[in-house]
Structure formats: structure tokens, C-alpha cells
Amino acid sequence: MFEQIYNHFNDIVAAILFVIGFSNLLFQKNLIKKIIGLNIMDVAIYLLLASQGYISGRLAPILTDGSENATTYINPIPSGLVLTGIVVSVSVTALMLSMTIRLYRKYRTLDLDEILVKVRKEKEDKGEG
């Protein structure tokens, strides 16, 4: 059992982080905390990906000492996927943050529930939807 946990340490941490981030993203009322949750979730996935590629004792996938043997280096694919994922995460975070800025300027609160209440009130005032 203990050895199993030791062998899968990164994976388990990634799973726990994923669930923490996931539940923060879904259930936090505060928009900034939601965004933090989103980032935790993404980081958990990168940790999982990176630990999938990693095999102890091997080198980073950049040519060293002229060795072109596949067993010298770790798998380059997960690293590439993490790179792509980071860019996606940055874009999404920027977009969410700028939406939060706009909402805060308009409604003067970061609480999504309060914002929705205010939105509904506004709609009823206008008589639309």
C-alpha cells in the first residue's frame, strides 16, 4: 500500500488538486476565487501530464553529449502538451479576469450571486426577459 502511494505520489496529488480546483471553480461565489480555482485545476492537469512523461534518471529532452538514444531522455510529448495547455490557461484566465473587472465596475461587487440578483432586478425594471 505504502509503496503504491509512493509510486503514484504525483498522480494522487494531481487528482486531489484537480478536485479542489474543480469544486472551487463551481461553488465559490467570489469571482476571483473561481478564477483561482480554475488555475488550480489547470495546474493539477499539468502536474499529471508532466509526471506521466517523467521517468526517474532520464534527462530533459534536449540533445546532450550527442546521444540520440530514446532511453536517455524523457518522453517529449507530455512536455509539449503542457506548453500548449499553459497558453490556453493564460488566455482563459485573462478573459475571465477582464470580465470580472467589467462586472465589478458595473455592479461594485465580486459575488456572482449578488451580481445575478442585480442583473435580474435590472431586467425587471426594463421589463425585458
Binding site: 487528482a15 478536485v19 521517468i55 540533445l63 517529449p76
Partner: protein
């Protein structure tokens, strides 16, 4: 859906919380179970260690010319993904611009209409008093400019006299920019590449704008120049990759020299693509900051 009384709402909310908690615990259990099933950290017989990874490493240098196998993989073997990735960044920039960009009010539609109505076609006039009167009757999306204007007025005063920041930035910014350029240009040789280097350059720009004010940054990185840089870089990226995809799929020779592995001028398109991505990311990072800070690039 709106007409529940508060008591029912409370009960519903509690039920929702409990269900959610149960689902989250189930998700956690399922994931952790999955993780035990995976090949562990120290096992060399990971399914990922197959012909794919082997070829990326063993023939990567002949086929892509990149010493950094990851750069070779993301910019040559799996270039379509990376092309999509830079488009994600582009799409996000566009959405942030839609959200936060404050146009010159003289150009905006509502503005024009008002001046037409008042009989004054003098659209260049944007004195504060006039725009204040017009805000009351404008649709709500315009009211947001009022908040922004206040912010912009506070901005320069806050950072004007910070000697420590200015002095440190004077020394740090050139080194940051230089390091960023180094990372971009060596993307195919060492860790790094277009995205990381671009982010470093962008952070250098941000530091400069914080220390010396946006006015000085605007001399060389304003909306127009940032737009042109992004556009040209993405266009080069798009056309270069289209050419490479097209020749590859039709089994034509691309005719792009790969150079000697290890030299700066090597690895065919990868260097060019890294530079393009670097430009795009630097401009994007700076414009994210600038848009969030003051609604302009």
C-alpha cells in the same frame, strides 16, 4: 424558476449543496482510483514510451533540425496544435479588447449621433464637461466609460515620483528584454521558445510601463503598432504553416533548408515561428495589462 419563497429556496440550496458535495467526493474517489491504476512514476514501461516518442527523439534532429526535441515536436510534428494554441491567445486578446477597449469617444456611434442631434458636428471635442452631460442619457454600456475615465485620471499621479522603482527599472528592463530575446532566439536549442520568451519580453514591457508611465510606452507600442505586429506575425505564422502543411500533405518537397543542428540559424521554420510567437505573446501580455489597467493599448 424564480418564484420560490425564501424557505423553499433555503431547502433547495441545502439539497443542492449536499448533492454537490456527494458528487465531488465521488469524483475524487474515481480519480484517485484511476491514478492507482496508472503506470507509476518510476516504471520505464510507460505506454507513452512507444514508437512515437522514440521517433521524436531518435530522428528528430534529422527531420526538424531542432536540438530541443520539444520545440521540434510542437512546431513541426504537431504544428497544427500549436497553430491552434496561438489562435486561442489571439481569440482571447480579441475578447479582452471587446470587453475593455475604450474607444476615442469622438469615433463612437452614440457620440456621433448626439452631436448630430445638437447640431454641432464638431466631433473632435471631448471636453470632460460635455461628456459628463451626455452620460446621463447614454445606454448603459457607455456609463462604463465614466468609471474608466476616473481611473485614468488617477493613474499618472500614483506612479510619478517613485524614484526606487524608476531607478531599478532603468537597470532591470534592458536585461529582462535581452534575456527574453535570447530565450526566443534559442527556442530550438535550449529550454524556452516563443511563448516563454515572449512572456518575459512582455513582462519587461509591463515593468517599463509601470515605472515610466504609459505615455512613454505609447511612443513605440501603441494600439496601431501592437496591432500591426500581432497581425503580421500571425499572418507569417499562418502562411508559413499553410505552406508546410500543404507541401507535406501533397508529398512535395518543402525546400526549406534545415541548417546544421545546434547553430542559431537552423531548424528551418522553427526559428521563424518562434520569433512570430514571441512577438505575438509579448504584444498580447502587454496589451492584457494595459487594457486591464486603463482600457487602452
Amino acid at each position: 424558476m424564480a418564484d420560490f419563497n425564501p424557505k423553499e429556496k433555503k431547502i433547495l440550496y441545502r439539497a443542492f449543496r449536499i448533492t454537490a458535495a456527494i458528487l465531488i467526493v465521488m469524483l475524487a474517489a474515481a480519480l484517485i482510483f484511476c491514478m492507482f491504476d496508472l503506470p507509476g512514476l518510476f516504471s520505464p514501461d510507460h505506454p507513452g514510451e512507444n514508437i512515437v516518442a522514440e521517433r521524436y527523439i531518435e530522428s528528430g534532429i534529422e527531420e526538424t533540425g531542432a536540438v530541443n526535441f520539444v520545440a521540434g515536436m510542437i512546431l513541426d510534428y504537431r504544428a497544427f496544435d500549436t497553430f491552434g494554441e496561438s489562435n486561442v491567445l489571439f481569440a482571447a486578446t480579441i475578447c479582452v479588447m471587446v470587453l475593455l477597449l475604450v474607444q476615442d469617444q469622438s469615433k463612437s456611434r452614440v457620440r456621433r449621433k448626439r452631436s448630430k442631434k445638437n447640431g454641432t458636428v464638431n466631433s473632435d471635442q471631448t471636453t470632460v464637461s460635455e461628456s459628463q452631460t451626455s452620460f446621463e442619457q447614454l445606454p448603459e454600456s457607455k456609463a462604463y466609460y465614466e468609471d474608466l475615465r476616473d481611473e485614468r485620471e488617477i493613474e499618472p499621479r500614483l506612479i510619478k515620483n517613485d524614484v526606487i522603482l524608476k531607478t531599478i527599472a532603468k537597470f532591470a528592463v534592458p536585461f529582462i528584454l535581452m534575456f527574453g530575446v535570447y530565450v526566443i532566439l534559442n527556442g530550438h536549442l535550449s529550454p524556452g521558445g516563443g511563448f516563454s520568451g515572449g512572456a518575459i519580453v512582455g513582462s519587461g514591457f509591463i515593468l517599463a510601463s509601470v515605472a515610466f508611465g504609459f505615455d512613454k510606452m505609447e511612443r513605440f507600442l501603441n494600439r496601431k503598432s501592437a496591432g500591426i505586429i500581432t497581425f503580421v506575425s500571425l499572418l507569417v505564422y499562418c502562411l508559413a504553416k499553410s505552406y508546410s502543411f500543404f507541401t507535406g500533405a501533397n508529398h512535395l518537397e518543402s525546400g526549406i533548408p534545415l541548417g546544421t543542428p545546434g547553430a542559431i540559424l537552423s531548424s528551418g521554420l522553427i526559428l521563424i515561428l518562434n520569433i512570430c510567437v514571441g512577438f505575438v505573446v509579448a504584444c498580447t501580455m502587454y496589451s492584457f495589462f494595459s487594457l486591464m489597467r486603463r482600457g487602452k493599448i
